[in-house]
């Protein structure tokens, strides 16, 4: 009797709440995040102060938003090295155009630029069928140079309240945060919904998991991939807007590491670089892990160079924890 009961419990684990949590693909990332938080709050009492937590969120906004686009592209078995550069170009275009034709017109022009570049990447990947890595490496190089030519030697101050709106703060109880944080969470929610609850999202997974099979099944694989690059362009614009909220200056040198940071966030979050597996929830946690590391190490008084060594090591540890928990529970 006892054995039977035990076996029953064991099998139904798949459906019970704790079982669901254990088997959730983001379980590992959550563990890694919690471990980091526990360690840092033990090292510095200030770490868990609401002001510090709010800062971590604010510092994660731009990379966090871009990481959503990166997740989509990686799910299709691609990679986007140009997404950060598109966003930076977006900030310059917003700033320059706002000075000329006002913030709303600037938004329109920046949208055309960002989406246009997304479409360029998408067309090269889907129509000419070139590898996304090399396409976006090429466009990255070209976009960075074009941005510098456009910006010249100037840094642009942005004063329009619309363009800097996402930097404004508001309070929830004692917790202060910015509209940028809200927008970031919204982007995650919307794309999470689109990926899991719509046919378009299913097709993104199918295109990444077995492109040939998806095509034979009647999925319009090229159109789907193209749409992913278009969506990335839109998300890059949102990131550009958030960047202006954070620093009301457009600078052609900003966010040079954004691409690698987004990829790190995506991978720590458990999305496979080979496509077809993962999701934005993991990426959000991955973004937070990176933010927590940086903030925690600074609070602990670690110098930049040692911080980099520690970050490098901790990124590997985070992925290792993730892999380990996943293997233990689902294999």
């Amino acid at each position: 009797m006892t054995t039977t009961r035990f076996e029953n419990t064991n099998t139904s684990v798949l459906k019970s709440l704790p079982g669901r949590i254990l088997h959730s693909p983001v379980f590992g990332s959550v563990v890694a995040l919690l471990v980091a938080i526990i360690i840092f709050s033990a090292m510095s009492p200030r770490f868990l102060a609401p002001a510090n937590l709010s800062l971590i969120l604010q510092q994660s906004v731009v990379v966090g938003i871009l990481a959503v686009a990166q997740t989509l592209i990686i799910l299709t078995a691609g990679i986007d090295l140009s997404i950060g550069a598109i966003a930076v170009l977006g900030t310059i275009v917003l700033a320059q155009a706002a000075a000329g034709i006002g913030p709303v017109g600037a938004m329109v022009i920046a949208m055309i630029v960002c989406v246009g570049l997304g479409a360029l990447n998408g067309a090269l990947v889907t129509v000419l069928r070139l590898p996304p890595f090399i396409v976006t490496l090429g466009t990255f190089t070209a976009i960075v140079a074009a941005t510098r030519l456009l910006a010249g030697s100037e840094t642009y101050q942005v004063t329009s309240p619309l363009l800097t709106f996402l930097g404004n703060t508001f309070k929830i109880g004692t917790f202060t945060t910015t509209y940028g944080v809200v927008v970031m969470l919204l982007v995650y929610a919307i794309m999470g919904y689109a990926l899991t609850q719509t046919a378009w999202g299913r097709h993104v997974y199918a295109v990444g998991g077995n492109p040939n099979g998806a095509l034979l099944s009647g999925v319009k694989t090229r159109r789907n991939m193209f749409s992913v690059y278009i969506v990335s362009g839109v998300i890059a614009l949102i990131a550009a807007w958030a960047a202006l909220g954070r620093i009301s200056t457009a600078d052609s040198n900003a966010y040079q590491n954004a691409n690698l940071d987004t990829i790190t966030a995506v991978v720590i979050g458990g999305t496979s670089l080979f496509g077809g597996r993962g999701g934005v929830l993991g990426t959000l946690i991955g973004t937070l892990i990176i933010g927590v590391l940086r903030s925690g190490l600074t609070l602990a008084g670690v110098d930049s160079l040692y911080q980099n060594i520690a970050t490098g090591a901790l990124v590997i540890v985070a992925v290792a924890v993730d892999q380990f928990t996943r293997r233990r529970t689902s294999r």
């Binding site: 800062l55 010249g152 030697s153 600078d251 040198n253």
Partner: protein, 313 residues
Amino acid sequence: AGNDSGSGSGGGGEEVKIGLVTKTDANPFFVKLREAAQKQADAKGAKLVALAGAFDGDNEGQVAAIENLVTQGVKGILITPNSSSGILSAIKNARDQGVIVIALDTATEPADAVDATFATDNLAAGVTQGKWVKGALGSKTPKVLMLDGTPGGTVDSLRHKGFLEGMGLSEDSSEIAGKADTNGDQTKAQTAMENLLQRAPDANALYTINEPAAAGGYAAIKSAGKESAVSIGSIDGSCVGVANVKKGVIGGTVLQFPAKMATSGVDAVVAFAKDGTKPAQSFNDTGSMLITDKPVDGVESKDTTWGAENCWG
């Protein structure tokens, strides 16, 4: 009537070609340098080819640029060396082939590796920043945060060293409450400063490698509500920077004169192309000047009105 070796005595009416190799294309300072050189070259009827390293510290990129410029047959090369000693052999090769090489902004080590240098004395500029911050603090015990540039950069370490000298501190003084690398990038500076302030909320002085770093640092200080408590010093002298001094974002900044470096450099190459004369002096300090509206005793300074007339970019 081309000659194959590509160098030697340039023919009479031929357009003088000048190569400019900056550290990167990114920094507004180098963009200004490039623009000024272009303007001067146009005025003198010379052709300028502007190349750059891909990132701060790209010695290989600068060496390749020098090699390719020599192949192309330039009369002279203006270079802002990434590292004062990293590219000496390429410079020597170029000079051996009859090309005049002039360092801008950063001196080489030894200084006579090039034909002449037009540069700011970055150590002195750092000292000026340090002295001003010390003066601005008055009798308060300094509690210093430092937003550095790129680790290993020559200019970056000269300014850092100069600042500490001007403050009367040393590298491991307890008055230094924290340091972070910003690569001179405003976004990184803001993030770094936010985190540093969490650790050292009572800091009262801030060293910055350049004005974007200062603007980023100020944003973090402001959102922490400490803008009156911290004295911010900087170096560069861009017009945005000077405007920020006027607005009170930066307490004082040390202005340098990139246009002067570029113009003198182009003139020197054109003169050399004409009759082979080289600049008389090896090191030519193009000078620097502290811009602040809160002057302190013992440090020479000009106000922001003067700054706005003499700034660059």
